[in-house]
């Protein structure tokens, strides 16, 4: 009856996959963050890399609230600079992703892809400030990564960058979900992990 409610075991699995997800994506972000150009590719590349993790997580824990836990914590971590609109945007993306996955009963592959695409919009939230509060963002970047990094970034980043990054994130997530399902088929279904 209560098939879709999270039990203790699901919560523990969620915590474990949360750790894996955060560690993998932080690793990728740290590598990409070294130069200004690759720094802008984070929303494209991170969803591709963590796609398999996300699809394994969702097939291990196909319960309502699974995406919610992951999404809220990832949003808070990636907006640790405290930009409140970024947090709100990330929370909305998470809830929508959860509802879409729920509509597919956490089984449908198409619904999973769409849900993952919406979910990946979280990775654009740190860049939201670039469009909406450009000066504040550049000040903060100068403080954290040095004035030179900020100058280079300011010189070639146009004002509409946030919207372009949304498109990039959607493309990345589409590739990532395809990749994730391939990986699941190739490695996990055979090994009987599911």
């Amino acid at each position: 009856m209560n098939q879709t409610k999270m039990k203790t075991k699901d919560l523990i699995l969620a915590g474990a996959f949360l750790a894996l997800y955060c560690v993998v994506s932080l690793g990728v972000i740290m590598v990409l963050g070294f130069t200004p150009i690759t720094f802008l590719l984070v929303p494209l590349i991170v969803p591709i890399v963590v796609g398999p993790v996300f699809s394994l997580y969702l097939s291990k824990v196909p319960k309502s609230g699974a995406i919610l836990i992951l999404g809220i914590i990832v949003t808070l971590l990636s907006n640790s600079t405290g930009y409140i609109y970024g947090i709100i945007f990330g929370a909305i993306a998470t809830v929508v992703a959860e509802l879409i996955a729920k509509a597919g009963k956490y089984k449908s592959k198409q619904m999973f892809s769409i849900s993952y695409m919406v979910f990946s919009l979280i990775y654009t939230t740190p860049y939201m400030m670039m469009t909406l509060a450009r000066n504040a963002f550049m000040e903060k970047t100068a403080m954290i990564s040095g004035q030179e990094f900020a100058d280079v970034l300011a010189s070639f980043v146009p004002n509409w960058i946030f919207y372009a990054l949304i498109v990039l994130a959607l493309i990345g997530a589409a590739i990532g979900s395809f990749f994730g399902q391939r990986v699941m088929k190739k490695h996990f279904e055979k090994a009987g992990i599911l």
Binding site: M6, G15, L20, V24, T81
Partner: protein, 243 residues
Amino acid sequence: MSANSYRQAYLYIDPRTKMLLVLCCGTLFNAQMGMVAEIAVFFVVFTIGLFVHGVKSAAKIFIFYSLAGLLPLILLHSIEGFMTIFFTALSTLVLIFTPAVYALNIITKTTTVSDSVSALRKMHLSDSVVIPIAVFFRFVPTLKEEWQSIRSAMKLRGIGTSFFNVVRRPILNMEYVLIPLMMSTANIAEELAAASMSRGLAKGVNRVPISEVKFRVADYIIIVGFPVMLAILYSLKQKGVIV
């Protein structure tokens, strides 16, 4: 997992205090605190870590901090050109992020799942939030161990994990690292779930913890002293007294 691996060095502090430490270190990259504040915060966290986490790890982080963070600051006047940019960026990154990373390290290395569960429950959070967060902190060191064994297995088979190799074949390398990591995460999580449930960790069930989680003298000193210190440093920076 034996309780021994989590044994405190000299001092026990509440998990909630450790979380406050991370939050306080987070102000370094949220507000412009200046260099003096960054170094002061590091030394506070370092001192706490020395007592809570042990001398060995504190010494490690101290050596890293002085080599990558403080040394470039001193040498900066004598280096020219491109290297200046590189070293300034490196040293600011180290100065800003090391305290937070070390504070997180203290949480993950010195807190048991049951301690963090009872601490988070005392903050009146719902179990659906408490259990994943507690497991999250428990799992990060496990992932590091798994990653090390995956790396040695790759080395044994002659697959290098050097930077050059990763750049040359990104997809293949990703598969080699990510798939085993996901496999072991899935398996370990299942085992951890079985073990924790047999020890009475369940959603909505109250358990009586063996180790008592409460604020002690050291906790009160940190909880009051650290934010006050941050506030003083911030106002001094605003007035231009310190850099």
